[in-house]
């Protein structure tokens, strides 16, 4: 029987039912008219799965740049917890980064606001934040604190570094071999630490590497990159984002282990050295095909030890790649200290 209050009733009852614990819920459902109770039971049963179903569908319809859940327009001038938002620094698929003033401590920080529309994302957000917070390394951008906003978003407070992203450096000028080596070496150093702690970055690329004015490299977006990658993977298994840095096994045998970061660092090093990506194509399908099938080319002109490092990061078979980021550091260190002879000596260990 439809009453004028039909919808309003159902909305309010449903919201109330969602807030109840198991035994209280059962009492409540038994106390209201049976038809309504049964209707609510069905809706409550659908609620959990509906969340992720809609999330998947939403991501298919609005693969990026959509603002649902994140406060629209600018947060500039607004407050999140005890932070005053000063201006936007950049944005990603489901997040924005702002320069914010910590009003308690009176310092400026970088505040990343991440859209989290699902309960399960909250849990993952917390888990990922904890994992990253456990990393304390000079080449990894750390976390000061995390929290939630009033409207289904999470925030991560991070140090505000002075400098430029490696992408910006690369676009501004051709980088010297020494600079590229320094970037790759520091990134490998950070990856070595995170891999030892069991944390894979999953989105190493020039945009996620930041060089401070004193030359210290910081890997950005640990945890968030992982979270984003997982959430952006739709039910159809389509991974959003740039595939250019993805290793072959991510297409054939996902999700892949620490080797995927080694590969991505190889692609980054190649790009920093030549200005080009090693595997290219006009569409995602073509790029994937190239990553899977094409022989690596264009390294013969590269200076050592970069050539050696890049070739051994970009082996199609993950087992043939450097087995750890520490090997990249060793190769670069040895290359700076010794002559070419070193490479012919240790080259036997790797398939050439």
């Amino acid at each position: 029987m439809t009453t004028p209050n039909h919808d309003a009733d159902l909305e309010v009852l449903f919201e109330h039912a969602l807030s109840l614990r198991e035994d209280a819920l059962e009492d409540f459902l038994n106390a209201i008219p049976r038809d309504r109770g049964n209707e609510l039971r069905i809706l409550l049963g659908a609620n959990a799965a509906a969340d992720s179903y809609f999330k998947d569908a939403f991501m298919q319809l609005h693969p990026e740049g959509s603002e649902t859940g994140i406060p629209e327009s600018d947060l500039e001038g607004e407050r999140i917890a005890h932070f005053e938002i000063l201006h936007e620094l950049g944005r990603g698929g489901m997040s924005r980064v702002y320069v914010a003033r910590d009003t308690r401590l009176g310092r400026d920080v970088a505040l990343k606001v991440v859209r989290l529309s699902e309960v399960q994302n909250y849990k993952e957000f917390i888990r990922e934040s904890r994992a990253v917070a456990s990393l304390d390394h000079k080449n990894i951008c750390g976390i000061y604190s995390t929290g939630f906003t009033d409207d289904d978003s999470g925030y991560i407070e991070m140090p505000l570094y002075q400098g430029s992203s490696v992408r910006e450096l690369m676009n501004a000028a051709q980088l010297s071999a020494a600079t590229v080596s320094s970037i790759v070496r520091q990134c490998a150093c950070g990856l070595d630490a995170s891999h030892s702690a069991g944390i894979i970055h999953r989105d190493i690329k020039p945009d996620n590497l930041f060089m401070e004015e004193d030359g210290t490299l910081r890997i950005l977006d640990f945890g968030v990159a992982r979270l984003e990658a997982r959430i952006m993977t739709t039910a159809a298994g389509i991974l959003k984002g740039t595939v250019s840095y993805m290793s072959p096994e991510r297409f054939t045998n996902p999700p892949g282990g620490t080797e995927i970061d080694i590969w991505a660092l190889g692609v980054t090093a190649y790009e920093l050295t030549t200005g080009l990506k090693p595997f290219q194509g006009k569409s995602i399908a073509e790029v994937m095909a190239s990553i899977l099938n094409d022989e690596l080319s264009g390294t013969s002109e590269m200076p050592q030890p970069l050539r050696f490092v890049i070739e051994n990061c970009l082996r199609k078979d993950p087992k043939e790649r450097f087995s750890g980021a520490n090997e990249i550091e060793s190769a670069l260190d040895a290359g700076t200290n010794e002559s070419e002879g070193f490479f012919s000596r240790i080259k036997g260990r790797f398939k050439s």
Binding site: T2, H6, D7, L10, E11, V12, F14, E15, L18, I42, L43, L44, G45, A46, N47, A49, A50, D51, Y53, F54, D56, A57, F58, Q60, L61, H62, P63, E64, G65, S66, E67, T68, G69, I70, P71, E72, S73, D151, A235, A236, I238, G281, K282, S283, I284, A285, E286, V287
Partner: protein
């Protein structure tokens, strides 16, 4: 009229329509809807050639482009944008629904005339099963729960925030949150019912 004059006239007209929609003018609403329906298809088709390897159409990008094109930046208030997007969400839903139906009909061997919708066929999102299932399931709750459907049009099809949706529908934030939650569960329960039968 030159191109830019024509463009200016169109955006003036859109801004006028949005203002009338805001005041509850039904006819303005249906006129804006018709314009958006055509405009969104046109933009989605053009987008197809500009994907650069993205596997799915970005509906948000299409909506934003429609907004910029049709208003020429003349409707600066957040409130105007919300009203525009709410109708755009309705148009987006209609486009997807018409497409799903014509596709089903063709599958059954129906002899339908080619329409402008056939040209969007190559856009993968139009074959995304979840999006299509949701689009079709909505019809089954529209008669009894029009308020829920409005929220789905805003939140799902137009990717509007809770604030924007509240603004466009002239209801409170908590009402939008409640309806969005209920609508999702209701649609999902319909879909899982269908799956079982």
């Amino acid at each position: 009229m030159s191109d830019s004059d024509e463009h200016r006239a169109m955006s003036n007209e859109t801004v006028r329509l949005i203002a009338s929609v805001r005041e509850g003018d039904q006819q303005a609403q249906s006129e804006l809807f018709t314009r958006l329906y055509d405009s969104l298809i046109k933009i989605a088709r053009a987008e197809r050639y500009r994907w650069q390897g993205n596997l799915t159409m970005n509906a948000t990008a299409v909506l934003n482009e429609a907004y910029l094109k049709m208003t020429d930046g003349q409707a600066p208030t957040v409130n105007d944008r919300s009203h525009f997007l709410a109708i755009a969400g309705k148009a987006m839903r209609q486009i997807l629904q018409d497409y799903a139906r014509s596709k089903q009909a063709r599958k059954r061997g129906g002899d339908l005339p080619m329409s402008s919708l056939d040209e969007v066929e190559e856009i993968p999102v139009f074959d995304s099963p979840h999006v299509m299932d949701i689009t079709l399931a909505i019809n089954r709750i529209e008669k009894e729960h029009p308020e829920l459907v409005q929220v789905v049009e805003c939140r799902f099809f137009a990717a509007m925030t809770i604030e924007e949706t509240a603004d466009a529908l002239n209801v409170g934030l908590s009402t939008v949150k409640r309806r969005w939650l209920l609508a999702q569960s209701m649609l999902y329960s319909i879909l899982s019912e269908e799956e079982e039968s």
